[in-house]
Symmetry: C2
Subunit: 487 residues, 2 copies
C-alpha cells in the first residue's frame, strides 16, 4: 500500500511553491491526490476509488503487472543507450513494422511525442528541402519551441503565426464550413488544403509537410470525412511535401477496428511519416517516428549523427514489447470495439433524451459534444465544465476538449469494461436529468447545490435547475430554489 | 542471465535495416553487443567484460539495485502524469533545491536534456521578451530543431547560423586565443561576450540568454578560467538577458568537489536557469529545468499551460530520489574526488613520459588531449582514434571528443575505482609506448598489427612503430617491420 508522505494540503502547498505554475493540475480548484492505480481505477489518499476516463497514456491499464515485470527484469540487466548493439530495439522496431504499411519501415526512437514530432519536422525538411508546414486549425503537436509554432491552439495565445506556417480549416462536419449534409465533405475539405498550397506558392513559399493528428484531439476528437487524407496527401506530394500523421494520442489500437487511426481512411492512404508516443510505454517515456527508406536516407545523407540519449534503450523497448503483447493477449482492440461501440450507443440514447448532447465519436477515443441546442449547435462550454465537476463528485475522472472546451472526452485505459461504460452513461444521464441523483441522496445533494455555488462562485447552472423543475416537483426542490434565490 | 535473441551479425543487419542510420553505433566498424552491465562493467554476448569509461548517464553504476527496486516498486503503484497531486514530485524538487543556490527554487520536470534546454529557451524568451541567444563555439545543446540552431557543433554542418544566434569563442586556455599564460583569461574571454553583445545591439538585436555547458563537453571538457561566468553573467544581465547553465553532462556531483559544475566558478556566481538531464535517472528518461521565481512567474503570466505527458511522473521522481540517496550513501562525490584526482595524477605522469599527451581535465569528467607535440599543440586526431580502438581491444570502452576529436574523454560511472583508473592508465601507457603489451603476448600482437591494417585499411600508425623501435629492439620487431613493409 502506498503511504502518504505529506498531508494533501501540504503536498499542494509544496507543489505551488516548487513546481512551475504553468504545469496545471486536473480540477485545479480541488485537485485529486492519487496514491495508486490499477487497471481503469485510481485510488486517492483515503483509498477512495475513481473510474478513470482520462488516462489514455496508461493504455493497457494502470500498473499492468506484465509491464512492470518486463521493465524491472530489463532494468536489472541493462539500461544503456543505443550506441551499443542490443536485440530489444530491433525486436521492437520489427514488431511495430508489422502493424504499419510496408513502406513505413525505418524507425527512430525518442522519449516523448513532442520529441517525435520535432524529429518528424526535421526529417520532412531535410528530405524535401522545403521549410513550410500546413497544420489544421486548433491543432496541438507538442510543447517544444518548434511545435508551438505549428500548434494554432498554442501560438494564437503566444507569439502568433510564423510566416512558414499555414493553417487549414479543421475538417469538422459537425461545426465546420462543410457539414454532414455536404455531398463530399472529404473532397471539399481537401480542396481547402489545395488552395492553401496554391496561395503559399504564389508567395514563393515551399511546403515541406502537412501535419495532422489522425483524429484531431484538442480539435474535439474529430473524425475525418471519407477520402480526406488521401486527397490531401496527393496535393501535398504534388507540392513536393510529405504527409505526417500524428498518431501520438490515437495509435496502438485506441480506435479498435484498426491499429492506427489513419487506417480509418482506407488502405489507399498511407502517410510518409508517422509519429507515436503517449500510450506506447503505458506511462513510461518512449515515443517513435516511423518513416520511409527514402526519407531516412535523406536524413542520413547530411552526414550528421542523430543521437538521443535515452531513446530506444533496452528498458523502453522491453516495455514497448510487453505492451504489444498485452494488447494482443487481452484482445484490447476487440475490447475497444465492443466497449467503445456500447458506450457510443449509450451516449446516442442520451442524445435522444437530452437536448444538450450533440455529436458523439468513435472507438475508445470518444468525444461527446455538449451544445446549447442541437439546431444552433452552439457549444455549451459552461455546461460541459459542470458535467466534468459533477462526474468527479461521482468518482469519475473525465475532461473536456475542443476549440470551445465543450467536448466531453473519453479516452480511458483500454481495459475499460461494459459495466464502466454503463456506469458513466447512467451518471451523465442523471446529471443531465438534474434530479435523479438528488432523489437518491436528498440531503447531501441539497447541500451540494449550495456548496457548488460557494465553491465555484457562480450560480448553479440554470439548465440544471430547469431539469430539476421538470422532473422533481416536490418540496425539496422548492427548498433548493428558495435557498438558491436568497443567496 | 541475459539471453541473446539474435546472433550479433543478425542484430546488426536488422538494425541497419530498421533503425535510421543517423543513429550511430560506438565502434561502427566493429560494434559491441552488450547484453548486461553492472557498476562500471559491461558484458558482451560472450560474457566478455569491458571496463566502461563512457557511460556518464549510468551515473551511480549500471543497474544499481536500489534504483531498480525503487522503480519497480513505484511502477507497481502509480505511473501516471503530474496533473494528479503526488508526493514524489515535490519530494524530489525539494531535494534538488537543497543542492542549488536559494534563488533557483522553481522546477519543471521533462524527459530529456534536449527537452530541458528547449524549455530553458522558452523561459528565457518569455521572461526577457528578447529572442537572441549567445552560445559558445563548438557547443552542443541537443537534437531538437531549436537546439540545433544554438549548437555550432551541429548547425555548421547543417542549415548554418541563424541571425538570432551569436557565437562566442570557447574560453579554452589550452587551444584558444587567450591561454594559461594570459594575466586574466577569465576577464579576457568574458570581454569577448561583452563585445558580441555590443555588436548585436548595434544591429538592433536583443539578447535573451547566454547558454553554456558548465564544462563544455563537445568543446573538449573545457574548464572555464576563474571569474569567467560571473563576468559573462554581468554583461548578459546588463543586456536584459539571463544566464543558462547547461549541467546536463556535468551535474550531480560528476566534478566531485561540487554538486554542480557551475559551482567551480565560486559562490558569487549563480545562473538564472539550470538545465539537468543525463545522469539524473541513471539511464531512465528524466530531466529538469530549475529557475528563479521571477522567470517562472513570467512564464505563468502568459496564461498558457505547460504540459509534459511523462515529465515528473511518480516513477521518474522515485528513480531520481533513489539516485540522490545512492550518491550520498556511497559517497560517490568523495569517490569522484579521490579516483578522479588519482586518475589525473596518473595521466599527468603519462604527460611527462609521452609527448602525445597534452592537457588533462577535472574530477570524473576528464579530458586528455592528444597532440602531435606539446609545443605546437596540434591536435592528433588519428592517434586519439587509434588509442580508442586499441583500448577497446584491451576491453576498455572510451571515446573521443573536442573540436578535432582529439580529446580522450573519461566520464565513467561514478563508482569507478582506483584500480580501474590504474588499469586504464597502464593500458594507455603501454599503447602509447607501443611495445610493452607486445612483449606480453608476442604472437597475438604481431598478428594484431597485421589485422589492424586489414581492418582499418590504413597503415599501422607510424608513431606507434617509432615507439616499438625505440623500446623493443629484438627480432620480433624486425619481423613485424618486414611484414608491415611487404604489405
Amino acid at each position: 500500500m502506498a503511504l502518504e508522505v505529506f498531508h494533501k494540503d501540504e503536498t499542494l502547498q509544496m507543489r505551488r511553491k516548487l513546481i512551475g505554475q504553468s504545469c496545471r493540475l486536473f480540477f485545479s480548484h480541488d485537485p485529486v491526490k492519487i496514491m495508486r492505480a490499477r487497471g481503469q481505477y485510481l485510488y486517492d489518499e483515503n483509498g477512495m476509488q475513481y473510474l478513470d476516463c482520462i488516462s489514455n497514456v496508461q493504455h493497457v491499464g494502470h500498473c499492468h503487472p506484465s509491464i512492470t515485470q518486463a521493465a524491472a527484469a530489463q532494468m536489472d540487466l541493462l539500461y544503456s543507450n543505443t550506441r551499443f548493439l542490443h536485440d530489444n530495439i530491433v525486436l521492437y522496431a520489427n514488431r511495430l513494422a508489422a502493424t504499419l504499411p510496408k513502406k513505413l519501415c525505418v524507425f527512430y526512437f525518442v522519449n516523448s511525442g513532442s520529441e517525435a514530432n520535432d524529429l518528424a519536422l526535421r526529417l520532412a525538411r531535410q528530405y524535401t528541402r522545403h521549410q513550410d508546414v500546413i497544420v489544421l486549425d486548433y491543432a496541438y503537436h507538442g510543447h517544444l519551441t518548434s511545435l508551438i509554432d505549428i500548434s494554432p491552439y498554442k501560438f494564437r495565445k503566444l507569439e502568433g503565426q510564423k510566416e512558414w506556417v499555414h493553417v487549414a480549416p479543421l475538417p469538422d462536419t459537425y461545426h465546420g464550413i462543410y457539414r454532414e449534409d455536404h455531398l463530399d465533405p472529404g473532397q471539399a475539405y481537401a480542396d481547402t488544403v489545395k488552395s492553401l498550397i496554391e496561395e503559399a506558392h504564389k508567395k514563393g513559399r515551399k511546403i515541406s509537410s502537412f501535419f495532422a493528428e489522425s483524429l484531431p484531439s484538442v480539435g474535439g476528437q474529430i473524425i475525418f470525412p471519407t477520402g480526406y487524407c488521401k486527397r490531401v496527401a496527393e496535393s501535398v506530394h504534388e507540392a513536393g511535401g510529405v504527409y505526417v500523421a500524428d498518431e501520438i494520442q490515437t495509435g496502438f489500437g485506441r480506435v479498435g477496428s484498426h491499429f492506427w487511426a489513419f487506417q480509418l481512411q482506407g488502405e489507399d492512404f498511407c502517410p510518409d511519416i508517422v509519429t507515436m508516443g503517449k500510450p506506447m510505454g503505458n506511462g513510461h517515456p518512449i515515443a517513435c517516428v516511423a518513416t520511409t527508406e527514402e526519407i531516412a536516407d535523406a536524413f542520413t545523407a547530411n552526414g550528421v549523427e542523430y543521437f538521443n540519449t535515452f531513446g530506444g534503450n533496452p528498458v523502453s523497448c522491453a516495455i514497448g514489447l510487453a505492451l504489444l503483447d498485452v494488447i494482443e493477449k487481452e484482445d484490447l482492440r476487440g475490447n475497444a470495439v465492443r466497449v467503445g461501440g456500447h458506450l457510443k450507443q449509450l451516449l446516442l440514447q442520451l442524445q435522444i433524451k437530452h437536448p444538450l448532447v450533440g455529436d458523439v465519436g468513435v472507438g475508445l477515443f470518444i468525444g461527446m459534444e455538449i451544445v446549447k441546442d442541437r439546431v444552433s449547435r452552439k457549444p455549451a462550454t459552461e455546461e460541459a465544465a459542470h458535467l466534468v465537476r459533477r462526474l468527479k463528485e461521482e468518482r469519475i475522472v473525465i475532461s473536456t476538449d475542443g476549440p470551445w472546451d465543450s467536448v466531453i472526452k473519453f479516452k480511458p485505459p483500454m481495459c475499460f469494461s461494459i459495466e464502466d461504460a454503463e456506469r458513466v452513461s447512467t451518471c451523465i444521464d442523471q446529471i443531465l436529468g438534474g434530479c435523479t441523483l438528488l432523489v437518491k441522496h436528498t440531503k447531501s445533494r441539497m447541500l451540494s447545490v449550495l456548496m457548488w455555488q460557494r465553491r465555484y462562485k457562480e450560480p448553479f447552472p440554470f439548465w440544471n435547475i430547469v431539469f430539476i423543475e421538470q422532473q422533481w416537483r416536490n418540496t425539496q426542490l422548492k427548498w433548493i430554489k428558495k435557498q438558491t434565490l436568497s443567496q
